[in-house]
């Protein structure tokens, strides 16, 4: 993985000192809360319902075991013994004290981490495919370019006071595992007809109250022009994005207002002026960064490992976990392991300090010390030998991290909701917990198959409800929490936005409603190979509507 050189290390130290000064000025009353707010936000520090929240950046989701141990240490010493992985591959702490934050940042800096630009109206921490470097289907390792973007976007002098937040995501294969087109800029690394690598720009996607699938605005930008094209895009946005209405300030609104074609024309006009400037990316720098992402020292391993195959045959629980939670690695004999942070009845994405330490140990023992965080709020050990999987699975079971539910109905994305967030209209976590308990039987989950369920506690859509196969949106109706259900969303390469099923459900009804949706799917599907989303696309929403509201009516009259 990328390691800081003297420049990166000095920079983070200086940034930490700067923020410590800003905190001191706030505590001394030299800065008003209004003035401090954008400064603390640019350093990931929010004020939530009950306390400050500190969001720590995990650039493109990549973590070392040493960094994970530091996150555990911070959770124990400065928080309540746990942390929460977010949908942007970051981790957040829900209970730090303002006067401890400088010390936390100093600890993070020791392991080359920080909280820079995890919030605020600036370019946020860049995300990428969590299978980067290990997926057989990629044309390039997106982490190299994510690191280029991380450096370019860090304290950008021109783009630190944008109309609104700005999120960039990178993938490098046909399969989209990172919800690329829901970002302000989604980048897909592609090869052109000449075999050269470059970037397809999908600009102006987003979720929130106006969900938009990012349109392809430029099908090929050469590698050396990446930064100039980003600069040109951001410059057009910075000057012309709306600043009069917070809900209309994202770049997606500008792209829609101008039309993708006119928007691209304006960006291109600016780009042609600057493309041959100092922004041209030197090959030597790309080569320098590329070296950090050289593959680890893989062993030459057999494809068929008898002990592993035997274990799968003799232990159905292990076999189920292998099927659900591991994926093919590009190197023979290795598998990619997903650690579900969605055990039955838990808050999605939460992890205790002890669990973090164990994951760090497992990474050292089995996965070259590497860990990834995913946008679905899970963790990954990227390279595990087949022969080690059984032993590792047993260790994961020991700390309740062996839930075999990746991409199943229990693998729920949920925002913090009204339990923590002052924007929320409704609770998300207890809804996720109830649904997870309802589908607690792993056999049943496996039988249902791939089903992505996403929950947001308000229209800001941090829980990605628009792009869940089943989406749940918390709304407030005269002081009572209600939940609107959408069906048919997807964040993958077959991206689509969900459609509203019908009237919202009460807190007590929502679990039944979800179960009725799932049962309807099981009745309708042509066979286990037809995923929920495929059935939905084949039948449309009507049969679901009929069944779900019908069964609800029965339950209601039975209750009376």
């Amino acid at each position: 993985m990328y390691r800081y050189d003297q420049f990166d290390a000095t920079f983070v130290r200086e940034r930490t000192a700067q923020f410590s000064g800003q905190v001191a000025r706030r505590l001394a009353g030299e800065l008003t809360e209004e003035e401090f707010r954008p400064l603390r936000l640019k350093n990931g520090l929010y004020l939530q319902l009950h306390a400050y929240m500190l969001r720590v950046a995990i650039p493109y989701g990549e973590l070392s075991s040493q960094q994970m141990r530091k996150l555990a240490y911070i959770a124990r010493r400065y928080d309540k013994g746990y942390g929460h992985f977010t949908t942007r591959q970051n981790i957040q702490y829900n209970w730090p004290r303002l006067d401890d934050v400088p010390a936390i940042l100093a600890h993070l800096a020791e392991v080359e981490m920080h909280a820079i630009q995890t919030s605020g109206n600036c370019i946020r921490n860049v995300t990428a495919d969590h299978f980067a470097g290990i997926a057989a289907d990629e044309v390039e390792d997106p982490r190299i370019w994510a690191e280029v973007i991380r450096q370019w976007s860090t304290l950008h002098p021109e783009f630190s006071y944008l109309p609104r937040k700005f999120k960039i995501c990178l993938i490098a294969s046909e399969h989209d595992r990172a919800a690329m087109r829901t970002h302000d800029i989604g980048l897909r690394i592609v090869r052109n007809a000449k075999g050269e690598l470059g970037f397809a720009f999908y600009t102006g996607g987003g979720q929130g109250r106006t969900p938009i699938i990012g349109p392809l605005v430029k099908d090929f930008v050469a590698q050396e022009d990446l930064l100039s094209y980003l600069d040109a895009t951001l410059r057009v946005y910075n000057m012309h994005g709306r600043r009069d209405n917070i809900y209309k300030a994202r770049i997606k609104i500008l792209v829609q207002a101008l039309g993708a074609e006119e928007f691209t024309r304006q960006v291109d006009e600016e780009w042609l002026r600057i493309k041959d400037s100092v922004l041209k990316l030197p090959e030597a720098e790309v080569a320098r960064i590329r070296r950090y992402f050289a593959p680890p020292d893989y062993e030459k391993l057999p494809v068929y490992v008898e002990s592993f195959e035997d274990k799968k045959l003799s232990d159905p629980d292990f076999a189920r976990w292998i099927r659900a939670n591991t994926h093919d690695h590009k190197v023979d004999g290795y598998r990619i392991v997903s650690i579900s942070l969605k055990p039955v009845g838990a808050a999605p994405g939460d992890i205790t300090a002890d669990q973090m330490d164990l994951v760090a140990d497992l990474a050292d023992t089995y996965s070259f010390g590497e860990i990834r965080a995913t946008h679905r709020q899970n963790l990954i050990l990227p390279h595990v030998r087949q022969q080690d999987l059984f032993e590792m699975w047993q260790k994961l079971q020991g700390v309740k991290l062996a839930e075999p539910n990746i991409d199943f109905v229990g693998d729920i994305i949920a925002c913090p909701g009204l339990d923590y967030c002052n924007l929320a209209n409704a609770r998300s976590i207890p809804v996720a917990q109830r649904i997870s308990r309802r589908f607690s039987d792993p056999k049943r989950q496996a039988e249902i198959g791939e089903l992505r369920l996403n929950i947001s506690g308000c229209i800001n859509a941090c829980g990605h409800h628009h792009v869940g196969h089943i989406g749940i949106l918390g709304v407030d109706k005269k002081g009572e929490e209600f939940y609107q259900v959408t069906l048919g969303g997807s964040s993958a390469e077959d991206i689509s936005l969900g459609k509203i099923l019908g009237p919202a459900f009460s807190y007590d009804e929502i679990t039944d409603a979800v179960e009725a949706v799932v049962d309807t799917y099981l009745d309708l599907r042509t066979g286990p190979a037809e995923r929920f989303i495929d059935t939905y696309r084949r039948t449309g929403i009507d049969p679901f509507k009929e069944k779900v509201y019908g069964s609800l009516k029965e339950r209601r009259s039975a209750a009376e």
């Binding site: 000095t10 000192a17 950008h156 000057m239 600043r243 720098e285």
Partner: protein, 168 residues
């Protein structure tokens, strides 16, 4: 009110003249874009130096053809969260090749100061009530810069590869 150059307070030699006020002779005056447009001919005949004030929704492209006559362009920061003028400054320097003084006027925080200088702004004029201590210090907070912006500061990338070139 003083202005800051390189973090140091200096007397303000420029006078901003409202659109309905008479123009002083032999002075350095800043006028609005509207006045510059309607009275440009007459303004050019005055002996003093001239500057134009751009509101945060006025792009420097509005005065692109007149820049050679202007000794100063003032950019408005109506709120410190309104960052449009950072791009305007870049456009003035990079696209339009403007060599005169660029001044930031309005709500500027010391935490934005280095960004302003990096974008090509020379002087800032904070509101009268604003404390101006700490601005010089703010310029010393960072020694590492990632983005090339056309100012004199070498970027981390340039230093990395220069060093290698020297070593090789």
């Amino acid at each position: 009110m003083a202005v800051l150059r390189n973090g140091v307070p200096q007397p303000n030699e420029w006078i901003r003249v409202a659109d309905d006020q008479p123009l002083p002779e032999n002075a350095k005056v800043i006028v609005s874009v509207e006045r510059w447009r309607s009275e440009g001919e007459r303004l050019r005949q005055l002996n003093g130096a001239l500057g134009v004030f751009l509101k945060s929704d006025q792009s420097p492209l509005l005065i692109a053809d007149d820049l050679h006559r202007l000794s100063l362009v003032a950019l408005e920061f109506p709120k410190f969260t309104d960052g449009r003028a950072f791009s305007y400054a870049r456009i003035l320097r990079d696209r339009l090749g403007y060599k005169g003084e660029i001044r930031a006027v309005g709500q500027v925080l010391r935490d934005q100061y280095v960004f302003m200088l990096r974008c090509g702004i020379d002087t800032i004029e904070p509101p009268v009530e604003k404390r101006v201590e700490g601005y010089a210090e703010a310029l010393r907070e960072f020694s590492v810069f990632y983005q090339p912006t056309g100012d004199e500061r070498a970027t981390a990338l340039q230093l990395r590869h220069q060093r290698k070139a020297v070593a090789a």
